[in-house]
Protein backbone atom coordinates (compact mmCIF):
# COMPACT_ATOMS: atom_id res chain seq x y z
CA UNK A 1 0.00 0.00 0.00
CA UNK A 2 2.34 2.64 -1.23
CA UNK A 3 1.20 6.18 -0.63
CA UNK A 4 -0.52 7.31 -3.79
CA UNK A 5 -0.27 10.63 -5.42
CA UNK A 6 -3.77 11.39 -4.24
CA UNK A 7 -4.70 14.98 -3.34
CA UNK A 8 -4.39 15.45 0.39
CA UNK A 9 -5.17 11.91 1.47
CA UNK A 10 -1.75 11.09 2.96
CA UNK A 11 -1.04 14.68 3.98
CA UNK A 12 -4.00 14.76 6.30
CA UNK A 13 -2.99 11.38 7.64
CA UNK A 14 -0.60 12.40 10.32
CA UNK A 15 -2.93 14.87 11.96
CA UNK A 16 -5.88 12.51 11.73
CA UNK A 17 -3.82 9.60 13.10
CA UNK A 18 -2.95 11.67 16.13
CA UNK A 19 -6.56 12.71 16.67
CA UNK A 20 -7.67 9.09 16.37
CA UNK A 21 -5.01 7.92 18.81
CA UNK A 22 -6.11 10.51 21.35
CA UNK A 23 -9.76 9.67 20.82
CA UNK A 24 -8.77 6.05 21.50
CA UNK A 25 -7.50 7.18 24.89
CA UNK A 26 -10.82 8.85 25.64
CA UNK A 27 -9.96 12.40 24.59
CA UNK A 28 -13.31 13.93 23.63
CA UNK A 29 -11.88 17.21 22.39
CA UNK A 30 -9.64 15.33 19.94
CA UNK A 31 -12.67 13.35 18.80
CA UNK A 32 -14.52 16.62 18.26
CA UNK A 33 -11.70 17.88 16.06
CA UNK A 34 -11.66 14.58 14.18
CA UNK A 35 -15.37 15.06 13.51
CA UNK A 36 -14.81 18.62 12.28
CA UNK A 37 -12.07 17.51 9.91
CA UNK A 38 -13.72 14.40 8.49
CA UNK A 39 -17.51 14.63 8.75
CA UNK A 40 -17.84 16.63 5.51
CA UNK A 41 -16.14 13.86 3.58
CA UNK A 42 -17.89 10.96 5.27
CA UNK A 43 -21.28 12.63 4.90
CA UNK A 44 -20.61 13.07 1.18
CA UNK A 45 -19.68 9.38 0.89
CA UNK A 46 -22.80 8.30 2.79
CA UNK A 47 -25.15 10.62 0.88
CA UNK A 48 -24.06 9.17 -2.47
CA UNK A 49 -25.15 5.74 -1.29
CA UNK A 50 -28.02 6.59 1.03
CA UNK A 51 -29.81 9.55 -0.55
CA UNK A 52 -32.46 9.85 2.12
CA UNK A 53 -31.02 12.72 4.14
CA UNK A 54 -32.68 11.79 7.43
CA UNK A 55 -31.34 8.26 7.14
CA UNK A 56 -27.92 9.53 6.07
CA UNK A 57 -27.78 11.75 9.16
CA UNK A 58 -28.65 8.80 11.39
CA UNK A 59 -26.00 6.72 9.68
CA UNK A 60 -23.39 9.41 10.19
CA UNK A 61 -24.16 9.39 13.91
CA UNK A 62 -23.83 5.61 14.05
CA UNK A 63 -20.59 5.82 12.10
CA UNK A 64 -18.97 8.25 14.52
CA UNK A 65 -20.24 6.30 17.53
CA UNK A 66 -18.46 3.23 16.07
CA UNK A 67 -15.38 5.30 15.31
CA UNK A 68 -15.21 6.46 18.93
CA UNK A 69 -15.55 2.89 20.14
CA UNK A 70 -13.07 1.44 17.65
CA UNK A 71 -10.56 4.33 17.73
CA UNK A 72 -8.23 2.44 20.07
CA UNK A 73 -7.99 -0.40 17.56
CA UNK A 74 -6.92 1.86 14.69
CA UNK A 75 -3.41 0.90 13.59
CA UNK A 76 -1.65 3.80 11.89
CA UNK A 77 1.12 1.49 10.73
CA UNK A 78 -1.30 -0.51 8.60
CA UNK A 79 -3.97 1.89 7.37
CA UNK A 80 -4.37 5.52 6.58
CA UNK A 81 -6.96 7.15 8.82
CA UNK A 82 -9.14 8.52 6.02
CA UNK A 83 -9.11 5.14 4.33
CA UNK A 84 -10.12 3.47 7.56
CA UNK A 85 -12.85 6.03 8.27
CA UNK A 86 -14.19 5.97 4.72
CA UNK A 87 -14.41 2.19 4.78
CA UNK A 88 -16.43 2.27 8.02
CA UNK A 89 -18.75 4.89 6.52
CA UNK A 90 -19.26 2.99 3.26
CA UNK A 91 -19.83 -0.26 5.08
CA UNK A 92 -22.59 1.27 7.21
CA UNK A 93 -24.17 2.95 4.23
CA UNK A 94 -24.19 -0.24 2.18
CA UNK A 95 -25.60 -2.25 5.08
CA UNK A 96 -28.39 0.30 5.40
CA UNK A 97 -29.61 -0.25 1.86
CA UNK A 98 -32.72 -2.24 1.32
CA UNK A 99 -33.91 -3.13 -2.11
CA UNK A 100 -37.04 -1.06 -1.63
CA UNK A 101 -35.01 2.02 -0.84
CA UNK A 102 -32.56 1.46 -3.61
CA UNK A 103 -35.31 1.16 -6.18
CA UNK A 104 -36.70 4.71 -6.49
CA UNK A 105 -33.25 6.07 -7.20
CA UNK A 106 -33.25 4.43 -10.61
CA UNK A 107 -36.43 6.18 -11.73
CA UNK A 108 -35.18 9.35 -13.33
CA UNK A 109 -32.63 7.65 -15.50
CA UNK A 110 -33.67 8.28 -18.99
CA UNK A 111 -35.88 11.06 -20.26
CA UNK A 112 -36.94 8.83 -23.08
CA UNK A 113 -38.14 5.47 -21.79
CA UNK A 114 -38.57 4.13 -25.29
CA UNK A 115 -34.94 4.52 -26.09
CA UNK A 116 -33.48 1.05 -26.08
CA UNK A 117 -29.95 2.20 -25.42
CA UNK A 118 -29.99 5.07 -22.98
CA UNK A 119 -27.05 7.39 -23.28
CA UNK A 120 -24.88 6.55 -20.30
CA UNK A 121 -24.27 10.16 -19.32
CA UNK A 122 -27.91 11.06 -19.44
CA UNK A 123 -28.78 7.91 -17.54
CA UNK A 124 -26.57 9.01 -14.70
CA UNK A 125 -27.98 12.51 -14.39
CA UNK A 126 -28.59 13.26 -10.75
CA UNK A 127 -27.81 16.01 -8.30
CA UNK A 128 -24.07 16.33 -8.06
CA UNK A 129 -21.57 14.82 -10.43
CA UNK A 130 -22.42 11.47 -11.96
CA UNK A 131 -20.46 8.43 -10.80
CA UNK A 132 -18.71 8.11 -14.15
CA UNK A 133 -17.54 11.74 -13.92
CA UNK A 134 -16.25 11.06 -10.44
CA UNK A 135 -14.31 8.04 -11.59
CA UNK A 136 -12.91 10.13 -14.45
CA UNK A 137 -11.77 12.87 -12.06
CA UNK A 138 -10.26 10.34 -9.70
CA UNK A 139 -8.36 8.73 -12.58
CA UNK A 140 -7.10 12.13 -13.72
CA UNK A 141 -5.79 12.90 -10.29
CA UNK A 142 -4.05 9.59 -10.02
CA UNK A 143 -2.81 9.72 -13.60
CA UNK A 144 -4.69 6.56 -14.47
CA UNK A 145 -6.71 7.96 -17.32
CA UNK A 146 -4.81 6.21 -20.06
CA UNK A 147 -4.83 2.96 -18.24
CA UNK A 148 -8.55 3.19 -17.51
CA UNK A 149 -9.20 3.82 -21.18
CA UNK A 150 -8.53 0.14 -21.73
CA UNK A 151 -11.94 -0.43 -20.20
CA UNK A 152 -15.03 -0.03 -22.31
CA UNK A 153 -17.41 2.75 -21.24
CA UNK A 154 -19.97 0.28 -19.86
CA UNK A 155 -17.25 -1.43 -17.84
CA UNK A 156 -16.18 1.86 -16.32
CA UNK A 157 -19.75 2.83 -15.76
CA UNK A 158 -20.61 -0.43 -13.96
CA UNK A 159 -17.81 -0.08 -11.48
CA UNK A 160 -18.52 3.64 -10.96
CA UNK A 161 -22.22 2.99 -10.26
CA UNK A 162 -21.38 0.16 -7.87
CA UNK A 163 -18.62 1.98 -6.06
CA UNK A 164 -19.84 5.56 -5.77
CA UNK A 165 -23.58 4.99 -5.60
CA UNK A 166 -23.56 1.65 -3.81
CA UNK A 167 -25.60 -0.19 -6.42
CA UNK A 168 -25.60 -3.98 -6.31
CA UNK A 169 -24.72 -6.04 -9.39
CA UNK A 170 -28.45 -6.58 -10.00
CA UNK A 171 -29.21 -2.86 -9.74
CA UNK A 172 -26.40 -1.96 -12.09
CA UNK A 173 -27.69 -4.58 -14.54
CA UNK A 174 -31.18 -3.13 -14.31
CA UNK A 175 -29.96 0.40 -14.78
CA UNK A 176 -27.79 -0.44 -17.77
CA UNK A 177 -30.32 -2.93 -19.13
CA UNK A 178 -27.69 -5.59 -19.44
CA UNK A 179 -27.67 -9.22 -18.28
CA UNK A 180 -26.55 -9.77 -14.70
CA UNK A 181 -23.68 -12.08 -15.71
CA UNK A 182 -22.31 -9.49 -18.12
CA UNK A 183 -22.37 -6.77 -15.47
CA UNK A 184 -20.66 -9.04 -12.95
CA UNK A 185 -17.80 -9.73 -15.31
CA UNK A 186 -17.55 -6.01 -16.23
CA UNK A 187 -17.20 -5.04 -12.59
CA UNK A 188 -14.66 -7.80 -11.96
CA UNK A 189 -12.67 -6.77 -15.01
CA UNK A 190 -12.80 -3.08 -14.09
CA UNK A 191 -11.56 -3.76 -10.57
CA UNK A 192 -8.70 -5.89 -11.85
CA UNK A 193 -7.73 -3.19 -14.36
CA UNK A 194 -7.78 -0.58 -11.63
CA UNK A 195 -5.56 -2.77 -9.47
CA UNK A 196 -3.09 -3.24 -12.32
CA UNK A 197 -3.05 0.51 -13.03
CA UNK A 198 -2.43 1.41 -9.41
CA UNK A 199 0.34 -1.15 -9.03
CA UNK A 200 2.08 0.18 -12.12
CA UNK A 201 1.61 3.76 -10.89
CA UNK A 202 3.15 2.75 -7.56
CA UNK A 203 6.14 1.24 -9.33
CA UNK A 204 6.47 4.48 -11.38
CA UNK A 205 6.38 6.57 -8.20
CA UNK A 206 8.99 4.31 -6.59
CA UNK A 207 11.17 4.78 -9.64
CA UNK A 208 10.79 8.55 -9.38
CA UNK A 209 11.50 8.54 -5.66
CA UNK A 210 14.64 6.47 -6.09
Amino acid sequence: MKALNESDWPERSRELSQLLARAGLGDRAAFGRLYERTSGHLYAVVLRIQRDRAMAEDLLQEIYVSVWKAAASFDAARSQPLTWLTHIARNRAIDSLRRAQAQPRTESLSADEDDDRPDPHEALASEGPGPLDLLGQASDRRQLTQCMEHLSPPQRQSVALAFYDGLSHAEVAEQLREPLGTVKSWVRRALQTLKGCLERAAVRDDGKAA
Partner: protein
Protein backbone atom coordinates in the same frame (compact mmCIF):
# COMPACT_ATOMS: atom_id res chain seq x y z
CA UNK B 1 -13.99 -22.55 0.03
CA UNK B 2 -10.31 -22.15 0.57
CA UNK B 3 -9.98 -18.59 1.82
CA UNK B 4 -6.22 -18.94 2.22
CA UNK B 5 -5.98 -19.08 -1.59
CA UNK B 6 -4.66 -15.59 -2.38
CA UNK B 7 -6.47 -15.30 -5.72
CA UNK B 8 -9.83 -16.16 -4.25
CA UNK B 9 -9.16 -13.95 -1.23
CA UNK B 10 -8.25 -11.07 -3.56
CA UNK B 11 -11.37 -11.48 -5.70
CA UNK B 12 -13.68 -11.65 -2.67
CA UNK B 13 -11.98 -8.73 -0.95
CA UNK B 14 -12.32 -6.63 -4.12
CA UNK B 15 -16.07 -7.22 -4.27
CA UNK B 16 -16.41 -6.67 -0.52
CA UNK B 17 -14.56 -3.35 -0.51
CA UNK B 18 -16.18 -2.16 -3.75
CA UNK B 19 -19.55 -2.91 -2.13
CA UNK B 20 -20.89 -5.41 -4.65
CA UNK B 21 -20.66 -8.35 -2.25
CA UNK B 22 -24.13 -8.23 -0.72
CA UNK B 23 -26.59 -9.96 1.53
CA UNK B 24 -25.65 -13.28 3.04
CA UNK B 25 -22.36 -13.47 1.16
CA UNK B 26 -21.34 -10.14 2.70
CA UNK B 27 -22.35 -11.23 6.19
CA UNK B 28 -20.47 -14.53 5.79
CA UNK B 29 -17.38 -12.70 4.60
CA UNK B 30 -17.48 -10.36 7.60
CA UNK B 31 -17.81 -13.32 9.94
CA UNK B 32 -14.80 -15.01 8.39
CA UNK B 33 -12.64 -11.91 8.25
CA UNK B 34 -11.31 -11.79 11.84
CA UNK B 35 -9.84 -15.30 11.60
CA UNK B 36 -8.31 -15.14 8.11
CA UNK B 37 -5.13 -13.09 7.82
CA UNK B 38 -4.99 -13.61 4.04
CA UNK B 39 -8.46 -12.08 3.68
CA UNK B 40 -7.56 -9.25 6.04
CA UNK B 41 -4.47 -8.40 4.04
CA UNK B 42 -6.43 -8.47 0.79
CA UNK B 43 -9.14 -6.23 2.29
CA UNK B 44 -6.56 -3.72 3.52
CA UNK B 45 -4.96 -3.61 0.09
CA UNK B 46 -8.29 -3.03 -1.63
CA UNK B 47 -9.26 -0.35 0.87
CA UNK B 48 -5.99 1.40 0.10
CA UNK B 49 -6.75 1.19 -3.61
CA UNK B 50 -10.41 2.16 -3.67
CA UNK B 51 -11.09 4.47 -0.73
CA UNK B 52 -8.94 7.33 -2.10
CA UNK B 53 -11.23 7.34 -5.16
CA UNK B 54 -13.81 8.96 -2.87
CA UNK B 55 -11.44 11.92 -2.51
CA UNK B 56 -13.08 13.56 -5.52
CA UNK B 57 -16.47 13.80 -3.83
CA UNK B 58 -17.28 17.40 -2.92
CA UNK B 59 -17.58 17.61 0.87
CA UNK B 60 -21.08 17.97 2.33
CA UNK B 61 -21.36 19.67 5.69
CA UNK B 62 -23.72 17.70 7.92
CA UNK B 63 -26.26 19.71 9.95
CA UNK B 64 -25.19 20.65 13.50
CA UNK B 65 -27.78 18.31 14.99
CA UNK B 66 -25.71 15.33 13.85
CA UNK B 67 -22.83 16.20 16.17
CA UNK B 68 -25.25 16.90 19.03
CA UNK B 69 -26.82 13.50 18.42
CA UNK B 70 -23.43 11.80 18.50
CA UNK B 71 -22.58 13.46 21.81
CA UNK B 72 -25.92 12.48 23.22
CA UNK B 73 -25.44 8.87 22.19
CA UNK B 74 -21.92 8.68 23.58
CA UNK B 75 -22.20 10.81 26.69
CA UNK B 76 -25.88 11.18 27.52
CA UNK B 77 -25.25 13.00 30.83
CA UNK B 78 -23.08 15.64 29.19
CA UNK B 79 -25.05 16.99 26.29
CA UNK B 80 -28.58 17.66 27.46
CA UNK B 81 -28.69 21.15 25.93
CA UNK B 82 -27.07 23.02 23.07
CA UNK B 83 -23.78 24.38 24.35
CA UNK B 84 -24.77 28.02 24.44
CA UNK B 85 -27.66 27.29 26.77
CA UNK B 86 -25.60 25.39 29.32
CA UNK B 87 -25.26 26.99 32.72
CA UNK B 88 -21.81 25.45 33.17
CA UNK B 89 -20.57 27.36 30.14
CA UNK B 90 -21.59 30.69 31.62
CA UNK B 91 -20.26 29.69 35.01
CA UNK B 92 -16.98 28.76 33.34
CA UNK B 93 -16.87 32.01 31.41
CA UNK B 94 -17.46 34.14 34.50
CA UNK B 95 -15.10 31.98 36.54
CA UNK B 96 -12.45 32.19 33.89
CA UNK B 97 -12.84 35.96 33.85
CA UNK B 98 -12.44 36.09 37.61
CA UNK B 99 -9.34 33.93 37.60
CA UNK B 100 -7.93 35.87 34.66
CA UNK B 101 -8.38 39.04 36.70
CA UNK B 102 -6.55 37.41 39.61
CA UNK B 103 -3.81 36.25 37.24
CA UNK B 104 -3.57 39.66 35.64
CA UNK B 105 -3.37 41.31 39.03
CA UNK B 106 -0.38 39.13 39.84
CA UNK B 107 1.11 39.96 36.45
CA UNK B 108 0.56 43.68 36.73
CA UNK B 109 1.96 43.68 40.25
CA UNK B 110 5.07 41.86 39.11
CA UNK B 111 6.22 42.82 35.63
CA UNK B 112 8.09 42.18 33.33
CA UNK B 113 7.37 38.57 32.11
CA UNK B 114 4.53 39.70 29.91
CA UNK B 115 3.32 36.35 28.55
CA UNK B 116 -0.43 35.91 28.78
CA UNK B 117 -1.70 33.56 31.47
CA UNK B 118 -3.06 30.18 30.44
CA UNK B 119 -6.51 29.36 31.75
CA UNK B 120 -7.75 25.77 32.01
CA UNK B 121 -11.34 24.86 32.80
CA UNK B 122 -11.73 21.46 34.43
CA UNK B 123 -15.20 20.01 34.02
CA UNK B 124 -16.85 17.52 36.32
CA UNK B 125 -16.31 13.99 34.98
CA UNK B 126 -19.21 12.39 36.81
CA UNK B 127 -16.63 10.07 38.42
CA UNK B 128 -18.35 10.75 41.71
CA UNK B 129 -22.03 11.56 41.34
CA UNK B 130 -22.03 13.83 44.40
CA UNK B 131 -19.36 16.10 42.89
CA UNK B 132 -20.47 18.60 40.25
CA UNK B 133 -19.45 21.95 38.80
CA UNK B 134 -16.11 23.04 37.37
CA UNK B 135 -12.68 24.17 38.45
CA UNK B 136 -10.80 27.00 36.83
CA UNK B 137 -7.02 26.93 36.92
CA UNK B 138 -4.82 29.70 35.61
CA UNK B 139 -1.08 29.44 35.05
CA UNK B 140 0.86 32.67 35.07
CA UNK B 141 2.44 33.50 31.74
CA UNK B 142 5.82 32.12 32.77
CA UNK B 143 4.16 28.93 34.08
CA UNK B 144 5.64 29.36 37.53
CA UNK B 145 2.54 29.98 39.54
CA UNK B 146 -0.94 28.62 39.39
CA UNK B 147 -4.25 29.80 40.80
CA UNK B 148 -7.03 27.23 41.06
CA UNK B 149 -10.54 27.60 42.36
CA UNK B 150 -13.78 25.61 42.20
CA UNK B 151 -16.59 27.71 40.75
CA UNK B 152 -18.94 26.45 43.42
CA UNK B 153 -17.70 24.88 46.66
CA UNK B 154 -17.18 21.13 46.26
CA UNK B 155 -18.78 19.09 49.04
CA UNK B 156 -16.62 16.19 50.19
CA UNK B 157 -16.73 13.68 53.00
CA UNK B 158 -14.91 15.15 56.00
CA UNK B 159 -12.04 12.67 55.62
CA UNK B 160 -11.37 13.38 51.95
CA UNK B 161 -9.38 16.08 50.14
CA UNK B 162 -8.94 17.22 46.53
CA UNK B 163 -5.61 16.68 44.79
CA UNK B 164 -4.61 18.46 41.59
CA UNK B 165 -2.69 16.62 38.86
CA UNK B 166 -1.15 17.40 35.52
CA UNK B 167 -0.22 14.87 32.86
CA UNK B 168 1.43 14.62 29.47
CA UNK B 169 -0.58 13.21 26.52
CA UNK B 170 0.88 9.81 27.26
CA UNK B 171 2.38 8.90 30.59
CA UNK B 172 1.65 9.10 34.26
CA UNK B 173 0.11 12.12 35.95
CA UNK B 174 2.16 14.13 38.42
CA UNK B 175 0.80 15.72 41.54
CA UNK B 176 0.62 19.48 41.78
CA UNK B 177 -0.50 19.29 45.39
CA UNK B 178 -3.71 19.53 47.35
CA UNK B 179 -6.32 22.14 46.57
CA UNK B 180 -9.06 23.75 48.60
CA UNK B 181 -12.56 22.48 47.95
CA UNK B 182 -14.12 25.85 48.74
CA UNK B 183 -11.71 28.64 47.85
CA UNK B 184 -8.65 29.85 45.99
CA UNK B 185 -5.48 27.76 46.03
CA UNK B 186 -2.23 29.38 44.99
CA UNK B 187 0.62 27.09 43.98
CA UNK B 188 3.98 28.65 43.36
CA UNK B 189 7.41 28.00 42.00
CA UNK B 190 8.84 24.70 43.20
CA UNK B 191 5.46 22.99 43.23
CA UNK B 192 5.11 23.37 39.48
CA UNK B 193 6.91 21.78 36.55
CA UNK B 194 8.60 25.06 35.65
CA UNK B 195 8.10 26.72 32.29
CA UNK B 196 4.73 25.72 30.87
CA UNK B 197 5.82 25.56 27.26
CA UNK B 198 7.84 22.48 26.55
CA UNK B 199 6.71 20.90 29.79
CA UNK B 200 4.52 18.51 27.81
CA UNK B 201 1.43 19.22 29.91
CA UNK B 202 -1.60 18.00 28.01
CA UNK B 203 -4.35 17.87 30.59
CA UNK B 204 -5.13 18.43 34.22
CA UNK B 205 -7.30 16.49 36.59
CA UNK B 206 -8.54 16.55 40.16
CA UNK B 207 -9.01 13.38 42.21
CA UNK B 208 -10.51 12.66 45.62
CA UNK B 209 -7.84 11.41 48.05
CA UNK B 210 -7.36 10.59 51.74
CA UNK B 211 -6.06 13.38 54.02
CA UNK B 212 -2.53 14.40 53.09
CA UNK B 213 -2.99 13.37 49.50
CA UNK B 214 -2.50 10.20 47.51
CA UNK B 215 -0.29 7.73 49.39
CA UNK B 216 1.02 6.22 46.14
CA UNK B 217 1.95 9.30 44.13
CA UNK B 218 -0.75 8.41 41.59
CA UNK B 219 -4.47 9.21 41.80
CA UNK B 220 -6.15 6.61 44.03
CA UNK B 221 -9.65 8.06 44.36
CA UNK B 222 -12.08 8.84 41.55
CA UNK B 223 -11.03 11.55 39.08
CA UNK B 224 -13.79 14.12 39.52
CA UNK B 225 -12.62 16.97 37.27
CA UNK B 226 -10.76 16.93 33.98
CA UNK B 227 -9.60 19.61 31.57
CA UNK B 228 -7.37 19.90 28.51
CA UNK B 229 -4.70 22.52 28.21
Amino acid sequence: MDYANPRLADALAAQYVAGTLRGRARARFETLLPSHPTLQGAVRDWQGRLMPLTGVLPEQAPPARVWRGIQQRLWPALAPLPWWQRLSLWRAVSGAALVAVLGLTVLVASPPPAQAPVVVVLQSTGGDPTVAGSIVASFSGDGRSLVARPLTPVSLQSDRVLELWWAPAQGKPKSLGLMKADGVTLLSRGQLPGGLRGSGIDHMAVSVEPPGGSPTGQPTGPVVFYGKL
